[in-house]
């Protein structure tokens, strides 16, 4: 686990790199994350030209294609502001894999290194840069937190989400069995090895449900797509109309709890 970087001074402006998954599949999570940042007095800039960090191609063994897509993102953040990413996995790609990806390209390697130093996962930014302590205005409830493998093992930011939830004094955070275990998403792994991926997500959803929590929250929409996708499939299989495991991005949950 790599330690989170030392907190810089509180910035006036940040860039928001939404990730392609949030832009297309979880836009509400992106809006809520932006709204939360703005509520802390930060100006949030969303470069319109942004697309994807390039990770799907990179982890599938297509580095040339990943480089083309990543190279495009390198040019989008000209000012020295932090780049906040609402996903440990995409943040990990930009922070830790961009410099390797461009190792043989001096110009882009320098750009990648400069950018990677400014990449922050969303919950890490709230806790370690803003020093934010959310104030809870919601009713008592129990949630369970799923932390992504990238947040945990690449970014070392698996504790910041827990810290934020811990500040919400009417929220009980349930502890699931095998918390640190992967949900089985893994990008193209989920379709290349569907039997193994399916077994992993089945076990993950069982463990999350066994806590009795009302919902699952996570700072990674890739995992949520997998976990909620399986939970909903299971509900369909078993003829349940009401979702047995609702879930959302931690930004949406935090925004709702802290809104008066």
């Amino acid at each position: 686990m790599k330690p989170a970087q030392s907190p810089p001074a509180r910035p006036s402006d940040v860039y928001f790199f939404a990730t392609c998954v949030v832009d297309q599949f979880f836009p509400g999570a992106g809006m809520d994350a932006i709204t939360l940042l703005e509520s802390q007095g930060i100006r949030v800039h969303f470069p319109e030209e942004q697309t994807c960090c390039g990770q799907p191609a990179y982890t599938s063994g297509f580095p040339d294609e990943a480089r083309k897509v990543a190279a495009h993102q390198l040019t989008l953040f000209p000012n020295e502001w932090p780049v906040v990413v609402p996903s440990g996995s995409c943040a990990g790609m930009m922070k830790h894999h961009y410099p390797t990806l461009f190792a043989a390209d001096p110009i882009r390697k320098a750009q990648a290194e400069k950018l990677s130093a400014r990449i922050y996962e969303f919950t890490d930014f709230l806790v370690n840069v803003l020093g934010w302590h959310p104030e809870d205005h919601g009713d008592a409830c129990t949630v369970v937190l799923h932390t992504s493998c990238s947040a945990r093992r690449e970014m070392g930011v698996h504790l910041t989400g827990r810290k934020l939830l811990g500040d919400l004094h009417k929220v009980t955070v349930a502890q699931q069995d095998h918390e640190s275990e992967c949900c089985g998403f893994g990008g193209t792994f989920s379709v290349k090895q569907p039997e193994i991926s399916g077994a992993m997500v089945e076990d993950k959803v069982k463990a999350l449900k066994a806590t009795g929590a009302e919902r699952v929250v996570s700072a990674d929409c890739g995992c949520l797509m997998n976990i909620l996708g399986h939970a909903a499939w299971k509900d369909r299989q078993e003829g349940r109309a009401k979702p047995s495991l609702p879930g959302e991005h931690i930004a949406s949950f935090l925004l709702r709890r802290t809104s008066k």
């Binding site: 686990m1 949030v22 832009d23 297309q24 599949f25 836009p27 509400g28 992106g30 809006m31 969303f46 319109e48 030209e49 942004q50 697309t51 994807c52 390039g54 799907p56 191609a57 990179y58 982890t59 599938s60 063994g61 297509f62 580095p63 040339d64 294609e65 083309k68 897509v69 190279a71 493998c149 990238s150 945990r152 093992r153 690449e154 640190s180 275990e181 992967c182 089985g184 998403f185 893994g186 990008g187 193209t188 792994f189 989920s190 379709v191 290349k192 090895q193 569907p194 039997e195 193994i196 991926s197 399916g198 077994a199 992993m200 997500v201 089945e202 997998n226 996708g229 399986h230 499939w233």
Partner: protein
């Protein structure tokens, strides 16, 4: 004595049928539960050995640098090891392939007119399928490690590199003993079963002409073969028969004796959660004049089998840092779901996925390198910090991204190349590198979301279909102004 047999041919073809084998285990609730329980037990044993995260981190860094130090000097160290061992009276043999290794070992057996070889636990002997080769040559090969003995009785292969019979219940073992060991009645009392095994093996140690073992660390400066074990059978194999043959991969070498204690500590704590193994053997020569026991001949077979291919590439070389503790398997969510046999390789789990391609080529192993979610649990626990996920990504690139090239870094490079898949990724890159194409494509996605198919290949086998949101984040931001 039998005449030399036709060279035994390895029959590992792990990619063929991998998904089917994995599915068999995944669909078996009993096996799922039993692997989960066993891996949980091993994970908690290891965790108890490393209560202090900082100490663990500094030990892992030390382990990594010791292994990298020695690998950086490998060619020189191998020469020094050979010279030192030879001076000590140990005969050194070099084998490039499994067939060559088998031929060397069987040649020694034939010279001694050997009928029975007792074996201590050795994964390299599994790698060359020595038991089959010995059998074909009319030489009995008997496993003496309890787990290996069980697996041999069942005519199976080890499912774990440290605990070969971890897939078996005590009831299955009881049945196996009752059916295969003469004069044994069914008992599922574990102590009784172990006593039965020990009794059988004790006689065989006396009878055997050859003792075979693996090597955990070969020390170049002293010419010492170190062997880590818990049952004492390794010491029996290396001391009781008149001839001892050790076999190991060329990477298991360290320059100095002082390199051994940190690696040994990392090995036993990571593997079985033990402070130290019950036995630690250091073998530096055959029986000397005037000594009362020990083998009169000691041989070391150094096997390449693809290791020099990994060695030649700076990144892939890290694969050879491995000290075979098995912690990566114990912590792997994929291994936990499918067990060791599904991989179809000698070395299963994460380390198997990165080392087998060098031994068997990418043609045979391309299916395995995709069998990882890249969760990173293996790299996190590896006592010598092998960046397993990074190596898997590299192997995927070698296997899939380009058609076979003239001078590849790996045997079987491009074996998984598909023009169609590559075109899909090129198309993907064309869209995602261009903001305007991306805007059009995702806008269409959000507008045509009603047309999303209800079956989306493997994704919807256990999940509801993916459907773009009606509005993209960029649309919502525009509307907000």
């Amino acid at each position: 004595m039998n005449a030399p047999q036709t060279p035994h041919t390895l029959h590992f073809m792990p990619s063929a049928g991998f998904r089917a084998r994995a599915k068999d285990v995944v669909d078996n609730p009993f096996l799922r539960q039993s692997f989960r329980g066993a891996m949980d037990f091993l994970m908690s044993k290891r965790a108890a050995q490393f209560p202090d995260a900082e100490e663990l981190e500094s030990l892992r860094t030390l382990g990594e640098s010791i292994r990298q130090y020695n690998l950086a000097r490998l060619p020189d160290l191998l020469e020094r090891l050979e010279a030192r061992l030879t001076a000590n009276g140990i005969q050194v043999h070099w084998a490039e392939t499994p067939d060559e290794a088998n031929e060397i070992i069987l040649g020694i057996c034939r010279r001694h007119e050997a009928k029975l070889m007792v074996k201590g636990k050795s994964m390299v002997s599994e790698e060359i399928e020595l038991n089959h080769a010995a059998e074909a040559a009319g030489i009995g090969a008997l496993e003496s490690d309890m787990g290996e003995y069980i697996v041999q009785l069942a005519d199976e292969k080890p499912s774990h590199i440290i605990m070969p019979a971890i897939h078996k219940t005590k009831e299955q073992i009881a049945k196996l003993f009752a059916e295969n060991v003469p004069g044994v009645d069914y008992t599922d009392n574990v102590d009784a079963l172990i006593q039965i095994g020990r009794r059988v093996l004790r006689e065989k140690f006396q009878e055997a002409d050859i003792g075979l073992s693996g090597v955990n660390f070969a020390v170049a400066e002293t010419g010492t073969l170190c062997l880590v074990e818990n049952e004492g059978n390794g010491r029996m194999c290396t001391t009781a028969p008149p001839v001892h043959i050790a076999i190991t991969g060329i990477e298991k070498i360290v320059e100095k004796l002082e390199h051994v204690p940190p690696l040994l500590s990392l090995l036993t704590r990571s593997a079985t959660g033990q402070n130290i193994s019950t036995y630690f053997n250091m073998i530096s020569s055959p029986r000397k004049p005037g000594e009362k026991d020990g083998p009169s001949e000691v041989h070391l077979v150094l096997l390449d089998n693809g290791r020099s291919q990994a060695y030649a590439d700076e990144q892939l070389r890290k694969t050879l840092q491995c000290i075979r503790c098995g912690a990566c398997m114990n912590h792997c969510p994929v291994y936990t779901r499918i067990g060791g046999h599904a991989y179809g390789t000698t070395y299963p789990g994460p380390i198997g996925k990165i080392i087998s391609p060098h031994m068997l080529g990418l043609e045979a192993t391309k299916g395995l390198v995709t069998a990882s979610s890249l969760c990173g649990a293996c790299g996190e626990v590896c006592p010598v910090k092998i960046p397993i996920p990074e190596l898997l990504i590299r192997l995927r690139e070698e296997a899939f991204s380009a058609p076979p090239r003239a001078n590849p870094a790996m045997r079987g490079q491009g074996a998984g190349y598909s023009g169609l898949i590559s075109a899909v990724w090129r198309g993907w890159a064309a869209v995602y590198r261009s903001p305007s194409l991306y805007r059009v494509a995702t806008w269409m996605g959000s507008r045509l979301r009603g047309l999303v198919p209800s079956r989306q290949g493997a994704w919807t086998s256990v999940r509801v279909p993916l459907k773009p949101a009606p509005k993209r984040l960029r649309d919502m931001l525009k509307e907000r102004g």
